[in-house]
Amino acid sequence: MKPETATTALDVNKIREQFPILHQQVNGKPLVYLDNAATSQKPLAVINTIKDYYERYNSNIHRGAHHLAQLATEAYENARLTVAKHISAKTEREINFVRGTTEAINLVASTYGRKFITSGDEIIITAMEHHSNIVPWQMLCEEKGATLKVIPINDKGEIIFEEYLKLLNDKTKIVSIAYVSNALGTIHPVKEVITEAHKVGAVVFVDGAQAMPHMQVDVQELDCDFLGFSGHKVFAGTGIGILYGKESLLKAMPPYMGGGEMIKSVSFAGTTYNDLPYKFEAGTPHIEGGISLGAALTYIQAVGLDKIAAHEHALLQYGTEKLSAIDGLRLVGTAQNKSSVISFLVDNVHSYDLGVLLNQQGIAIRTGHHCCQPLMDRFKIEGTCRASFAFYNTFEEIDILEAALKRAISMLA
């Protein structure tokens, strides 16, 4: 589809005005930021929220009765409500602030896992998970004498559903799967995965890190038991994320970290823990991070996730068409259902060299194994180049990428 004729209701130029960082030169060229799967840029709505917090009402929350503490507490708890509403949680008690997806997974592995997993149990993941959705489960399995099973994938980068069904049995206790693959952009059929897991009584953790910036995620519709995601990938600040869990499960889980905030009363004879969601939030939290996450979700709701998805889909199609026409370029990950990620390799050219030469031309992409070494092993490659788009990217930027790639390849081949 040509850029002029692309059907997009999004006024991208207007949106770009909201992202100050995009308007700069890198190595003498206008910045083309195509590393959104690593982290997203922040709109003024988020930047100003953080600034406002420190300029006007920075204070510790849930403690002091003074004015600033009340304002900060209210803003933080409002952000929690925004998150709950955004992902259609039943109650804000199901929304736990954590540092990011990695902490969300580790929290579930360490608390739910430690309490409910025993020797001989099985945990299922896929062959294309991020290291953060592999290693915590490996650690748990090692500790408990449980077994980690891996759903294989096909050459297009899709899970083989029949193989998944074969792995499920009454020993399966946890299934943990990314909604969207960070390395290849594959959108997994998580709803079907969840339905099948529930038939054998397993709980499902959905790693939503790469899904949240691109689509509406509805935890009740999915019926997932846990969902984790990172604020910084969905246009909020770094160091904040969410663990959603069904209330009954969170209630049954022991606390993660001990400390202030997560207690009701402490004596040397014993301690009673706080109610949800504070039970999992020991210590002074990342207050401005949480508030910025609320601002970010409010912002993308205002832009419209359906419009975002439509624009990104058009970018993906246009980019796929342009890039796959380049001589010697091979796409890695050609799933039917993909988010706006293009992973690729060029014959006889190392991805690191391409990354360096694109950077010299002002273009930011990611090269390497994307923290998915088992996936790279599956494709018998060391890494890929990955261009990942956000809704503020343009068709012109894809043209710039195409031209820059051609120039780099001509120098390296």
């Binding site: 050219v349 360096v356 090269t367 120039r407 120098m411």
Partner: protein, 137 residues
Amino acid sequence: MKSMQEIEDEIVEEFDLFDDQMDKYEYIIDLGKKLPPLDEKYKTDDFLVKGCQSKVWLHAYEKEGHIYFETDSNTAITKGIIALLLRVLSGQKPQDILNNKLEFIDRIQLRAHLSSQRSNGLTAMIQRMKAYASAFA
């Protein structure tokens, strides 16, 4: 033989000719292509300096009080930068290698490649070159 300083000045002068970053990198890639091939017997794990993305193999030997380096890399740009490092460091006396702070890398604006610790193996390679030199110093 030219002093290290003379070689470094020579390199800086060559790089002064480039206005365009891409031309500079084209030259670096070209230098890498011209690097004498490393004997296959040295392209083993024993000689590997592993970066997160690129691999560098380094073989060093001493001859009449001078240290010589032979290297290769699986990425073109790393290899080109290695060629520059070898031009300055290979064939020099151990103490001179140890004393050299590779300031020319700053002067030709390639420091970023040395400071990206994990990705390209260059920092680790320089450390290993210095380790060889200190063994003979």
